[in-house]
């Protein structure tokens, strides 16, 4: 058994900082933390261009002003704030915001707004915001799956596999799922997924009949983060094809032919945090954790 987890938190933080250089250094204020949440979720309908219900949420002054007939943020009391009530309603409630089936706010975003309101909804002063989640696995987003989801689903069905969204967040990507009929998933199937390669963030290929040729197809998935190749016939040399996978975080090679040389060369993958080698010729030789490398 070989696994990398040393320095996970540190490297996760570094990864995050690399993506959002501002976030680590600046204190949490309306401008740094609250406004981005409103911009992401609200200002499309409540902003400069459109003011549904006479409400704008694109500046601090507008947020505090509320709509023509009511205040939406009551400082220090999020439970009494209309804004908070609307974003925490069940998806099926006709008052829920965002409306029209658009993705609801994440619980982390809701918590952030709660903290800001509870702190008195300060305009510029910092408030005690929850730490940013250090989740390397979601740090790099895939393109919006919505325009291509129907086509991806149809193709997957035809091929006897599944392509399912990881969550309702459209940039969370798709999971390639094969567990219902792993033996049906082979190199030819993977080759046909090319039109959706950029959407696939996770590939569950354990016990499939893929070989080294399939790895070449997988190498074309630029946003692939988690790859499970448990008990497949991939070879030690063939695994070298995975080197273009710059975003790969987890690679499971349990019960494959991966050897020490494979492990050593896969360490070069820049995002890899976990490499699982149980039941391979490379086990129990310890490889140096890729995550411990300076980034």
């Amino acid at each position: 058994m070989i696994f990398y987890s040393k320095s996970l938190i540190l490297s996760a933080a570094l990864t995050l900082l690399a993506f959002h250089p501002r976030l680590g250094a600046e204190p949490a204020t309306f401008a740094t933390r609250v406004a981005p949440v409103l911009e992401k979720n609200c200002t499309g309908c409540h902003g400069k261009d459109k003011q549904k219900g006479s409400l704008r949420l694109d500046t601090f002054a507008h947020v505090m002003r509320g709509s023509d007939d009511r205040v939406v943020v009551k400082a220090k009391d999020f439970a009494a704030s209309e804004l908070h009530r609307r974003i925490t309603l069940p998806a099926s409630d006709e008052d829920v915001m965002p409306s029209d089936g658009k993705p609801l706010l994440s619980s982390a975003d809701i918590l952030l707004l709660e903290k800001w309101i509870a702190a008195g909804a300060p305009a510029t002063e910092p408030f005690d915001a929850p730490a940013l989640a250090l989740t390397p696995i979601t740090s790099s987003a895939a393109p919006d799956y919505r325009p291509r989801l129907a086509a991806a689903t149809a193709l997957a069905k035809k091929l006897g596999i599944r392509l399912v969204p990881r969550s309702i967040v459209p940039t969370d990507g798709l999971i390639l799922r094969t567990a219902s009929a792993p033996t049906q998933c082979n190199d030819a199937v993977l080759a046909q997924l090319a039109p959706f390669a950029d959407l696939i963030v996770e590939a569950e290929l354990a016990r499939t009949t893929i070989t080294d040729a399939g790895l070449v197809s997988l190498a074309l998935c630029p946003n692939l983060q988690i790859l499970d190749l448990t008990q497949t016939a991939v070879t030690a040399q063939g695994l070298g094809a995975l080197h273009p996978l710059k975003n790969l975080v987890v690679l499971n090679l349990t019960n494959t032919a991966a050897n020490q040389a494979t492990a050593a060369s896969l360490k070069k993958l820049p995002s890899l945090h976990h490499l699982w080698l149980f039941g391979t010729p490379a086990d129990p030789v310890s490889a140096k954790p890729a995550a411990a490398k300076a980034k």
Binding site: M1, F3, T88, P90, A91, S92, D93, L104, S106, S107, A108, P130, T135, I137, T138, V164, P165, R166, S167, I168, V169, D172, R177, A179, S180, A181, E204, A206, D228, T230, V250, N252, T254, H274, W276, F278, G279
Partner: protein, 514 residues
Amino acid sequence: MASPHPLQPDLCSDHGGEHPTIWDLPNIPLGLKQEWLNLETRRHFLGRGAKALAWAGLASILGRSLPRALANESSSTPLLPHFAPKAKRAIYLFMAGAPSQFETWDYKPGLSSMFNQDLPESVRGGQQLTGMTASQTRFPVAPSFYKFAQHGQAGRWCSELFPYTAKVSDELCVIKSLHTEAINHEPAILSITTGNMFPGKPSVGAWLSYGLGAINDELPTFVVMISKMPIQVNVQALSNRLWSSGFLSPEHAAVALRSGSNPVLHLKDPPGVDRSVRRAMIDGVNDLNHQLFDRVGDPEINARISQYEMAFRMQTSVPELTDFSNEPSSTWDLYGPKAKEPGTFAYNCLMARRLAERGVRFSQVFLRSWDQHNNLPTNIKILAEDSDRPTQGLIADLKRRGMLDDTLVIWGGEFGRTVYSQGTLKPQDYGRDHHPRCFSMWLAGGGVKPGISYGETDDFSYNIAKDPVHIRDLHATLLHQFGFDHERLTHKFQGLEQKLTGVLPARVIRDILL
């Protein structure tokens, strides 16, 4: 006859020709039309007179009460997580009967010098006692008979009852401050399995099935295994109300694997019936069921159709699942020799790993007999010896296969036990009564911080001193790891947006999450 409207079934003659119906009206939301359909179906049932008896017979075959059969039920298409999940699957090692926290995970060194002293009145503070010990004249403190030692890099104090689990103590997150309302087994087990002490709510596994759907269509999404007991003392009855789908569609209920050599009864085709004959038979039954659905519009019929299909698929998936012959020898080193004996806790732990590998979302393994009102030191050791090695084996096996990161393992019972002895206290023999005010559980994997403890109890593990965790909070946290905001994983029933955590506040325990 094709229906002109997507949601409208073809109705019987007593409805035919009554046009226009509500279905023809513009500007009526589909949900309202669906509600009308349900009411209409009910009227239909009530109006059928003699045939109603047959209907009732059908409902009982389906194992459901009529009101539920007639309730609103949306499509069984899974929802999507609200955010990217950390856990894909969970394995819940349910220690039914409620293991004592004192001998397991809530080390109280200060008690050893207080043997047989009365529990200070200030600790209890006038709180009510449970019926079984309320009549005792004394409440003598019973320190743990078993010793503790520090293990792992985290230096966690582990009981000598769990020498194997102690080896993976750095993987565990022990929560010492769980609490519940229920003081007796049935309501407490129901509370922790379904979020409510009254029967009829969906089990945790059913909610996950409803929200996430299956990874593997060839196996059930939710599986329950009840382990053979190494000792049978104060055994709680378990039944499918603990793993039912409640008001959710019936396919979300668990399939309970039997603890014998034949885990699913009647799965093998009888002699002379080959696969194609079986397929033709199921197609015929499905056809009849589809016709019935078209007439009465009862969603439970669709659920039954899908269950026939699942059973057919399990005819091929289950034999492979239960064939342990391809396990490497290291498996038996991990889980111990008992894992070869079907139905033991060790066997079920190994089965849980095999289910997890094949994509089963939620496996719940029950081990009973932890209800030690008396003879606690003797009996808890027998259960610990039965379960310790395979528990460690499961954690280590998931870990080495790279599966622990996205498999949440849960260990625990339904409530805690009292610091004072129930019955006569001797140095080597005592009992403990039920105690809902605090108890310990542990979580491992699935995006939970390893090697930590959360929450603290007072010196007598009687009340919570810091960071209380209601079982609702545990449920909210569990759903969170599967990508769900517990406030938004809902299902409309009886006019309410029902949810696992109910109507009282629940919080995700963010401090224990990676």
